[in-house]
């Protein structure tokens, strides 16, 4: 049993999930107190002991499906098969099952009708059945093909023709429903039905994907399929190539990071300032002077608020990163008052006020796009001129408590870098950090002048993923 569990844990780790030894032991303990023929309970056990972040749920689900649920094996509790690895029948149980034996002929018309009902109702049972039969009928594994879930998924969806079923259902929903059963008029009714159908279609697609993965496991083994399905976790996605969905997921992860970042940057000036009166210590102290509180004692002060000035490149060459940057800066600015931000291309403009007024991140991004006056001459990044303007306008407000964080790829379009301005900014500030969204291997190639700036920073970090951002934040500790 521990063998299977440790194989499972290995695969989770290979997918990037941090699973510790104690957690693996917890998982084993948990499995020992639940019925192993209850797949849902097994799943809940493993998930609650091994996965400690909502962001890792999806990756966990995929690996779990591969290892623990084979509904294709009638009457055989799936987890037990895997846990009793000693059993001599295992091979036998695995191989035949659904692939050869009890295959009933599936009527495509019946299947389509079932799919229609499944999509209309969203009923889980029906969706699962539909997925199983669709894969059985259309998704048969071609042995010459490399392992690839996406290929069979597309093939099955096309053959089942989900799109046409959906448009039929939508049309029916208009004509077929009694007015008494509707919510609101035509528009509202249509919108509700469409939204529901879309969600049911997503669920069907997901069921089909799981079914195909299972089938492939039977054919090729869990390891091979798992390897082919590994996908980067949110924290490992490259900002530059993130899709819209990825960005939504990243945005959720940014808020906690922003908070940690800001508190790490806070100075702890414990020895210089006093906290509130510590009555307990004062009383204890007073006992040596006959109960007279001669010497007041103070608590350690709370760390002061950080002062951060963020200067971010928002030019085309880093536009994907810039969006992310703005998210990060917005998240920081929302929680802390001593944060100022400026953006630049070849001109510089402070956007702190925009962030404070904006009701939402979308609004902030739109406002920055519309209002920030960042183009001085050409609209291509010019770090030299941006730094000069920044130093003129904001240099005087930097103090020995200010952390200056520069976000950009240091691609200056062959303009002069004027790194001595950065040098003088660093003398005024507490610390200067540079976060570069380009892969380190590109640094210094072409018009990249990061090497010219690096000596004038307290740290230069590659920052293309949330993980790297986390690492940066951790290093500030």
């Amino acid at each position: 049993m521990l063998d299977v569990l440790s194989g499972f844990v290995d695969e989770l780790r290979a997918s990037g999930l941090p699973v510790s030894v104690t957690e693996t032991i917890d998982a084993a303990d948990a499995l020992s107190v639940i019925p192993l023929d209850d797949v849902a309970a097994v799943r809940a056990c493993l998930s609650t002991t091994l996965v400690k972040s909502a962001d890792h749920e999806v990756a966990f689900g995929r690996v779990f499906d591969l290892f623990f649920s084979r509904r294709g094996l009638p009457g055989i509790p799936s987890a037990e098969i895997l846990i009793e690895t000693e059993s001599p029948d295992v091979e036998e149980i695995f191989v035949p099952g659904r692939l050869s034996g009890n295959r009933r002929a599936i009527d495509p018309r019946e299947l389509r009708e079932r799919a229609r009902r499944a999509l209309a109702s969203g009923d889980e049972e029906l969706l699962t059945q539909t997925a199983q039969q669709a894969v059985e009928l259309y998704g048969s594994v071609e042995s010459a093909r490399p392992v690839g879930v996406a290929y069979y998924l597309q093939k099955t969806l096309r053959a089942l023709d989900v799109e046409s079923i959906l448009s039929q259902l939508l049309a029916d929903a208009r004509s077929g429903t009694e007015p008494g059963e509707r919510i609101g008029g035509d528009a509202m009714h249509d919108n509700l039905v469409r939204s529901e159908l879309m969600r049911h279609a997503d669920a069907l697609r997901e069921e089909i994907r799981r079914e195909i993965a299972r089938l492939l496991v039977d054919e090729r083994g869990a390891g091979a399929v798992a390897r082919s399905m590994r996908r980067p976790l949110v924290e490992d996605l490259d900002f530059m190539h993130a899709s819209a969905d990825d960005l939504v997921a990243m945005r959720r992860a940014i808020y906690p990071l922003a908070r940690i970042l800001a508190s790490r940057l806070a100075h702890r000036r414990r020895h210089r300032r006093r906290g509130p009166l510590d009555i307990r210590a004062t009383i204890r102290r007073s006992l040596s002077s006959g109960g007279v509180p001669l010497e007041p004692r103070f608590r350690r002060p709370h760390p002061s608020r950080p002062e951060i000035f963020v200067l971010a490149d928002v030019s085309g060459s880093v536009s994907a990163f810039a969006r992310f940057t703005v998210h990060l800066v917005y998240a920081i600015a929302e929680q802390f008052s001593n944060v100022r931000c400026a953006v630049f291309i070849d001109g510089v403009d402070e956007v702190t006020g925009i962030f404070r007024r904006a009701a939402s991140i979308e609004e902030a991004i739109a406002e920055v796009g519309a209002k920030a006056d960042v183009v001085d001459a050409h609209g291509h990044s010019n770090y030299g001129s941006a730094f000069r303007l920044f130093a003129q306008r904001y240099g005087p407000s930097l103090t020995k408590k200010t952390n200056l964080i520069i976000l950009g790829d240091a691609r200056g379009n062959y303009h002069s870098g004027e790194s001595e301005i950065l040098q003088s900014l660093r003398r005024r500030a507490h610390r200067v950090f540079w976060l570069n969204p380009e892969p380190r291997s590109y640094w210094g190639t072409g018009d990249s002048i990061i090497g010219e700036y690096a000596p004038h920073c307290d740290g230069v970090f590659e920052c293309r993923t949330l993980r790297q951002l986390k690492d940066f934040v951790d290093r500030l500790a």
């Binding site: 309970a41 448009s167 939508l170 919510i183 609101g184 919108n191 307990r280």
Partner: protein, 304 residues
């Protein structure tokens, strides 16, 4: 000694919670069941208003235990988590000694030592929620609510207590737990909690419930509602949660909305009723605009 478990199996957890009005699915029930068997704290995360706090309250009710709640906030420290000395009482005590001294008795050094022992004794100790929970004689459930709000130092302190189940008080020595109570920690995810804390806990992500479960929740919490209106309510909520909004409506907002509709005497949802009460569900102007468009607007063409 085999401890007497209060839940015999996963289903009994579900039933016990349903009996006190908390409707949960099997995944939630499994985690609660495991928490008792493995004696581990549960860390519950999830969007606002998905029933994290309510889960702990309901667990206490279901177990007929007293709920001890530590509400976290920034700046919360040891003296609010574990214990504090009752310094008013201590000062009074010292005052009494000094008055006697003034009255002519010369207090010796030894005597002040005795007084020190005196005033740092149980009598002068104020126990705070976490210490109270592990020292209680009656059954309790400890809720540490919104732990993401405390500083990392306080988190570490809590972690220590939850691992050792003992507290050392400088003046008194080590205080051991009389019981290991069920512990529920909640977090709204405003910051990442330490790995150590997460390792120590069972993890439960409470997402929005399925449409069926939410319908049941509505019907159980707003009994005046008709099945049909409850159904309409959760369908509209389902659409809103599928949009990319800044803040999705939570279960509490679903319930508020259902209650409002009842008060307004609305029996069926339609455009006017939905539109005029949308501000109960959504808090941001842009979200409301967006929802109006997606829910009430005319779609250009059926997309399928």
């Amino acid at each position: 000694m085999t401890p007497a478990y209060r839940f015999s199996d996963i289903k009994s957890v579900r039933d016990a919670l349903a009996a006190v009005g908390y409707l949960c699915d099997d995944a939630i029930a499994t985690v609660l069941y495991l928490a008792e068997r493995l004696q581990k704290p549960i860390l519950v995360e999830g969007p606002a208003g998905t029933g994290k706090t309510e889960l702990a309250k309901s667990l206490a009710l279901a177990l007929s235990s007293r709920l001890i709640r530590l509400q976290c906030y920034e700046g919360l420290d040891e003296s609010k988590v574990l214990y504090e000395w009752n310094y008013r009482k201590q000062l009074l005590r010292i005052q009494v000694e000094r008055n006697e001294e003034d009255a002519g008795r010369e207090a010796h050094h030894d005597e002040w030592r005795r007084i020190e022992g005196d005033i740092f004794s149980e009598e002068f100790l104020l126990t705070r929620p976490v210490l109270e929970a592990i020292r209680a004689d009656d059954p309790v459930v400890l809720l540490i609510d919104e732990i993401d709000r405390v500083e990392i130092e306080t988190e570490a302190l809590l972690l220590e207590v939850l691992s050792e189940y003992q507290v050392s008080i400088a003046e008194l020595g080590t205080v051991r737990a009389r019981q290991i109570p069920p512990v529920v920690l909640t977090s709204n995810g405003t910051r990442e909690l330490s790995e150590a804390l997460k390792r120590r806990c069972l993890y439960l992500y409470l997402d929005y419930p399925s449409q069926e479960r939410e319908r049941e929740i509505v019907i159980s919490k707003v009994p005046e509602i008709s099945e049909r209106l409850a159904d309409e309510v959760v369908r509209v909520i389902g659409l809103l949660r599928s949009l990319d909004l800044q803040k999705h409506p939570s279960i509490s907002e679903t319930l508020d909305w259902a209650r409002t509709l009842i008060v307004l005497g609305i029996e069926h949802l339609d455009e006017a009723a939905t539109s005029s009460t949308m501000n109960i569900l959504l808090k941001y102007r842009e979200d409301i605009d967006r929802a109006q468009r997606e829910l009430l607007g005319h779609a250009s063409k059926p997309r399928a």
